[in-house]
């Protein structure tokens, strides 16, 4: 059974640090994707936000995993701006609330937390799969996690399938015409470009996989 693994506050901090490192490493790539169908600042905004999260978490030793996710979300809202700030900020806050007050959480709780993040993004952004947004990466990841949980997959296996699903969803945005966000202003000209929000979302899920895989 998969319940053997217990994750804690350390997992959350390590995940956020891993995201910060990923978006910093891919900053120019995200900027380039955004320049094609947006205004070319996605990598800069995400880097600024997750750098601030890393800083905020390092100033907050202790705290439950749920509290740390809520703090991470609040920090994103206060530092990112644009659409990504409120969307990821609210998503992490809702994920944090879903984890509750406990000092640890299991895989089922993790799945609930990521599902709460997706619900928050869809609620605020009113995007559905196929709109060429971050939902196109996040929604398949949640589905893969739920399936993994149902068949009793190990944490590593479950998160690997979630990452792969998110990346497949990210690539599937290329032929889509954007219906939400700034890319939608381009109409048919948005076709043929990978969505930057779906791309950073896939990075965030991949960072989760790496974090859990390398945890003791």
């Amino acid at each position: 059974m998969a319940v053997a693994i217990a994750m804690d506050a350390q997992t959350v901090t390590a995940w956020m640090n891993e995201i910060a490192a990923s978006v910093r490493a891919e900053r120019d790539y995200l900027v380039q994707l955004d320049a094609a169908i947006g205004d070319g600042d996605h990598g800069i905004n995400m880097t600024r936000g997750f750098d601030a999260v890393t800083l905020a978490l390092s100033a907050e030793p202790g705290g439950t995993p749920g509290k740390l996710l809520i703090l991470s979300g609040k920090t994103l809202v206060s530092t990112v701006g644009g659409a990504s700030g409120p969307l990821w900020g609210s998503a992490l806050r809702k994920a944090g609330r879903a984890l509750g007050e406990g000092p640890t959480f299991d895989l089922a709780q993790l799945v609930d937390a990521i599902a709460a993040a997706l619900a928050s993004v869809q609620d605020l952004g009113a995007a559905v799969p196929g709109d060429k947004t971050m939902v196109d990466a996040l929604e398949p990841a949640v589905t893969a996690m739920r399936e993994g949980l149902a068949r009793g997959a190990s944490s590593g296996e479950m998160l690997r399938s979630a990452s792969e699903a998110a990346e497949a969803g990210m690539r599937a945005t290329i032929p889509m015409q954007a219906r939400k966000g700034r890319a939608s202003y381009l109409g048919e000209r948005s076709i043929g470009h990978q969505d930057p929000g779906a791309t950073s979302t896939a990075m965030i899920i991949r960072a989760l996989e790496r974090t859990v895989a390398s945890s003791p």
């Binding site: 169908i37 205004d39 070319g40 600042d41 644009g82 969307l87 700034r182 939608s184 202003y185 381009l186």
Partner: protein, 340 residues
């Protein structure tokens, strides 16, 4: 860093300090008009809060100067919340501005219709309401290049924002109620339409690269204000041909009655000189009259820009006597200044 700076041909220091240093410089240039609250990164009218007056704030990404900071002052905005370049402000800034200007008669948020702006202003308005401040948010969406449909994020807020801030600000200064000031701003949005074209992209300081390449001899048609490409690319036309496109797009959508009085606003995107904007206004003016509209008021210049983008937009607002009087009312800001 120095190399990147020179490559950008921008008069700046460090790219990540551009917004803050520009705000400080603006405040230093008009100390009688506004003050810069560094901690909250907001610009606030020098005499705010004005007791009993409806307050109006706006905000959005930087890079559109003089929008919005240049419009803070008597007869226009009470505060502006500038985000990073082309990135909406965060709720903390908007909440701080709302509190700083609340004179007890309510606060209006003028929000340009972009997903990020709408979300961040909404979060701030919810928090302000929790603090007992009456906030009314009005979303401006005047860009006819984008059709409001299930397939887009809705029409963008562009040139009508400037006119709404001026007329709404005048109504607030005259002592109108929250409802009446909101009504003026909504009327400008309902009876205002805009359309823009670009002859070049622009270079955000943080990335140092042009957002897109536009070969000489071509233009982007149906652009917004974030250096993004437009709805389509076309061979660069003459001023007369560009005026044809703009006037047709705006007037057909506005569908004003023949004989209506209008305000015509020919706006530069940041990199087009007044020599060309005046010329374009002449072309626009003739066509508006031919379409049965009388441009009894106008504004020509670069007021809602996209960094150094070359290009222009046209905004037409249908006027009535009240809006005309509000346009003529005194204004004292860094960028617009007339009357007593």
């Amino acid at each position: 860093m120095a190399t990147a700076t020179r490559r950008m041909r921008k008069i700046i220091n460090e790219p990540d300090q551009v917004v803050k240093e520009s705000l400080a410089g603006l405040a230093a240039s008009v100390p009688d008009v506004l003050r810069y609250d560094v901690a909250n990164q907001i610009l606030v009218r020098a005499d705010a809060p004005v007791k009993g007056k409806v307050a109006i704030i706006s905000g959005g990404g930087s890079g559109h100067e003089p929008l919005h900071g240049g419009f803070v002052g008597k007869g226009m905005l009470d505060a502006a919340c500038p985000g990073e370049v082309f990135t909406s402000p965060v709720p903390d800034q908007i909440l701080a501005a709302t509190k700083a200007v609340d004179g007890g008669a309510g606060v209006i948020h003028i929000v340009k219709n972009y997903t990020g702006d709408v979300l961040n202003f909404k979060m701030a308005a919810d928090e302000a309401a929790d603090d007992g401040i009456k906030v009314e948010a009005i979303v401006i969406d005047d860009d006819v290049a984008v059709q409001d449909s299930l397939y887009t994020a809705g029409r963008r807020g562009v040139g009508a924002t400037v006119i709404a801030e001026k007329m709404g600000g005048a109504a607030a200064e005259r002592g109108d109620s929250l409802e009446a000031v909101a009504g003026v701003i909504k009327q400008v949005n309902a009876r205002g339409r805009s359309f823009g074209i670009a002859l070049s992209s622009c270079i955000p300081p943080a990335s140092g690269n042009a957002i897109f390449d536009l070969p000489e001899g071509e233009m982007e048609v149906g652009i917004g204000i974030h250096g993004e490409p437009g709805r389509r690319r076309a061979p660069l036309g003459s001023a007369a041909e560009i005026a044809d496109i703009m006037v047709e797009a705006v007037t057909s959508d506005l569908a004003a009655k023949s004989g209506s009085n209008v305000l015509a606003f020919v706006n530069g995107m940041g990199g087009t000189p007044l020599l060309e904007l005046y010329l374009l206004y002449g072309e626009v003016e003739k066509r508006l009259r031919a379409a049965g509209l009388t441009p009894v008021r106008n504004l020509v210049g670069s007021y809602i820009t996209s960094l150094e983008m070359a290009g222009a937009s046209l905004t037409v607002v249908e006027l009535d006597d009240n809006l005309t009087a509000l346009w003529d009312a005194p204004v004292h800001t860094a960028a617009l200044r007339w009357g007593g």
